[in-house]
């Protein structure tokens, strides 16, 4: 009987069907985009009421949380759309430079929400706000200053982007994924292809968290790089790791059902390791003990990746496809 129970539990996994993709899209992905659109809207309304950094910060944090629920998806409307919402990493300091130039010259585009979509992505979205709201070189502006208007423009642009992204997913790309294999579907020729596309997004999101969100600030033992952590100014570095792992766990279940014991166990280990990290912005990585705790967290994220491969990839005979992080 024990064997039978195992077989029953595994049965839905043996044949990925459009039902699994539909469940992931309808029950998880679309509501998560709506949630993000809501978060961006509240952020913009907050900034309109009072643009100063202390007033905007809580809504900014909440909106960023909602973005992390969908940040790992880089297909369809998000293929390009995600880049102008969250431009990071920024190896050459484009955000700092572009914002400083806008403010120094009081560029009128910075006060024009209807034109701001033409602006470099370095000055748009969440990471531009992170700099303006938290960096002491920017965040002391008053209600009548250019920077105040710039913050409102960026939140307006973000609100519009979040709406557009959520709408495109709901009205267009959801059907592309769910309707895989339909005669007019040139993107996914079968339900297997659509399922694999989401599986690839799931794993490449975790790979990004391990290699980039954690790996970049860790640098080498001799030369840690805390300033290369994601959103360290707003103390979000650790939180972003956790929410992205949580989003991955959620997508894994949405794709493959409730019975993923190894994945769930691996996720618990991620939580435990995160609990031990001493600075949520990873700014103490110069301390070998602190660095070790972040390294353990990185190993736990990779173990979560491995558990998902074992519980979803192996039974179905699939490995992830190419992803947008495959370059250098």
């Amino acid at each position: 009987m024990k064997h039978l129970a195992v077989l029953i539990a595994l049965a839905p996994l043996s044949l990925p069907a459009s039902a699994d993709t539909a469940r992931a899209v309808n029950d998880l992905i679309l509501p998560s985009f709506e949630n993000f659109a809501q978060g961006a809207q509240v952020l913009h309304q907050t900034a309109l009421a009072d643009c100063r950094s202390d007033a905007v910060a809580p809504a900014y944090q909440a909106a960023f949380d909602t973005w992390m629920g969908v940040s790992g998806l880089r297909i369809g409307p998000s293929e390009t759309g995600a880049l102008s919402i969250a431009f990071w990493p920024d190896d050459r300091g484009f955000t700092q430079r572009t914002l400083a130039r806008l403010i120094d010259t009081e560029d009128p585009t910075g006060l024009d929400p209807s034109e701001y979509h033409e602006m470099s992505i370095a000055a748009r979205g969440l990471f531009a706000l992170d700099m303006l709201l938290y960096d002491p070189a920017f965040n002391t502006y008053g209600a009548g200053d250019y920077t105040c208007g710039l913050v409102q423009t960026i939140t307006a642009d973000l609100d519009r982007q979040a709406d557009a992204l959520s709408t495109s997913w709901a009205e267009d790309y959801a059907e592309v994924l769910i309707g895989a294999g339909a005669p007019d579907n040139t993107i996914y020729l079968s339900s297997d292809e659509a399922f694999r596309a989401l599986y690839t997004q799931l794993l490449s999101g975790l790979e990004f968290t391990a290699d980039t969100r954690l790996g970049r600030p860790m640098g080498t033992f001799e030369r840690p790089r805390p300033k290369l952590a994601e959103a360290w100014r707003s103390d979000r570095s650790l939180g972003n790791v956790l929410i992205s792992a949580q989003a991955a766990q959620g997508l894994a279940h949405a794709l493959a059902g409730p019975e993923l014991p190894q994945t769930d166990a691996a996720f618990s280990q991620v939580m435990l390791a995160a609990d031990r990290v001493s600075d949520p912005s990873f700014q103490d990585l110069d301390d070998p003990q602190a660095r070790l705790r972040v390294e353990v967290l990185q190993q736990r994220v990779r173990a979560l990746y491995g558990a998902i491969e074992i519980e979803i990839g192996a039974p179905l005979g699939i490995t992830p496809g190419f992803n947008s992080q495959d370059g250098d």
């Binding site: 370095a122 491969e309 005979g317 490995t319 496809g321 495959d326």
Partner: protein, 423 residues
């Protein structure tokens, strides 16, 4: 983590293999064409780099408009075969581990030589962004003092390149040489490339911008390094070379190398990092060959290399052709419609790249296309990006059709050793 490949169900796998078993084209023949073309591309890269080396020596020995112009055109010629070889990168670890010495990009060029005031100084991300080795015989890197009295290939390779562990400290390779031949392009998104005067290499009172002898030493040393780096890689693909033998050792792994190289270069690197990101940043320095305004050619020949890996055909700089049994033949035997789909998508990408190249050759240079709000430029660049992304989906389908999933599984640590994950 390694680059993963899409796989297929066991049913499709056995079907694919059964069909391929009766094939006219053997996998070994396909792989032999692939390694022969690699050998030719790296050999041509080496030959054209040696021509560049001779031109650089002429420039240094007798600086003039003519010798500078000759060195620049030798550099442009050298890019043609090299960019076509980039499709060998991601699938072959020997190439991928080496590539950063030759074609690293983007670079903080202020590490090497003087820059315009608009460049700024050191940044958060790179304290050495404005180090200026050419002007400073004595340097401090990460708290360590460095004697840079003589600029040698060893100083560049052992101390300066990726100094302080920062990837944008690119001290060697094509783009470092490009900067020394052209200088910064200060035209923004307007027409025109870098305008370094030949007198930057002149001796005595004719020297402009100071330290011409050290600048000449740097250019010579960097060019010598490029030649020796390419000698190394050409040897890896020559008969009994390690890269060649690795591909020929396993039929499955060899085919995975071809497809991984095509897919990773198409999508993450070329469409993503090099084209779309630069477009969305609207930054004229976010182009691959930013000093020389040669980016359109770099993109064109990269894409041509991807097509070449599939068709098993390469046209050498002297006009001769190397061709043989190809991945296209192999795919056609398993699924003719899929082969037709791949060929038409590769052609669509080349057509978009040709449009981009024609516009740039006609004076609408790549950095002008990146200008904020420039709709024509955006359409040209995104035409290439969309073609590259679209062809990646078909590359994934070929992996499935050829039943290469088991090989991909073998490349996964966690599936190979599940217990290792929970250590």
């Amino acid at each position: 983590m390694t680059h993963h490949i899409l796989a297929t169900s066991a049913l499709a796998l056995s079907f694919g293999l059964a069909t391929a078993a009766g094939a006219d084209v053997s996998k070994t023949e396909v792989l032999t064409t692939y390694v022969d073309i690699a050998a030719a591309k790296y050999d041509d890269s080496l030959t054209t780099a040696k021509t560049l080396q001779a031109a650089v020596n002429n420039l240094i020995d007798a600086p003039s408009e003519e010798t500078l112009s000759a060195a620049r055109s030798a550099w442009l010629d050298a890019r043609v075969p090299y960019q076509q070889s980039e499709v060998y990168r991601f699938g072959n670890p020997i190439v991928d581990d080496w590539e950063g010495m030759v074609n690293a990009w983007p670079l903080d060029e202020g590490l090497i030589d003087y820059v315009d005031a608009s460049y700024g100084g050191p940044t958060d991300a790179n304290e050495l962004a404005a180090l200026n080795v050419i002007a400073n015989p004595s340097l401090s890197i990460a708290g360590k003092s460095i004697d840079a009295t003589s600029i040698t290939p060893e100083l560049i390779s052992d101390t300066l390149n990726e100094a302080d562990g920062i990837e944008t400290n690119v001290a060697r390779g094509y783009h470092a040489i490009e900067f020394l031949l052209w200088g910064q392009d200060l035209n923004g998104t307007g027409p025109g490339a870098g305008e370094r005067p030949y007198t930057d290499f002149a001796t005595g009172d004719d020297c402009t911008n100071g330290n011409c002898d050290r600048r000449a030493d740097y250019l010579r040393a960097a060019t010598d390094l490029l030649v020796s780096d390419l000698e190394y890689m050409a040897a890896q693909w020559a008969p009994n070379g390690a890269a060649r033998d690795t591909v020929l050792t396993s039929e499955g792994a060899g085919l995975v190398a071809i497809l991984t190289g095509m897919g990773s270069l198409s999508y993450g690197e070329q469409a993503g990092e090099r084209m779309r990101l630069g477009l969305m940043l609207n930054d004229p320095e976010e182009e691959h060959d930013c000093f020389s305004d040669n980016t359109h050619n770099s993109h064109y020949y990269d894409a041509l290399g991807i097509q070449s890996a599939y068709l098993g055909r390469y046209v050498r700089p002297d006009g001769s052709v190397i061709e043989g049994p190809s991945l296209a033949d192999l795919t056609a035997e398993v699924d003719p419609a899929l082969d037709a789909e791949m060929q038409s998508k590769l052609e669509a990408t080349m057509s978009a790249m040709s449009d981009l190249k024609a516009a740039a050759d006609g004076g609408f240079s790549y950095d002008m296309m990146l200008e904020q709000g420039n709709a024509e430029g955006e359409a040209l660049v995104m035409g290439g990006v969309n073609g590259l992304i679209d062809q990646t989906r078909t590359i994934e389908r070929i992996v499935v059709a050829l039943g290469l999933d088991q090989i991909a599984f073998e490349g996964s640590d966690s599936l190979d050793q599940p217990e290792a994950v929970f250590e």
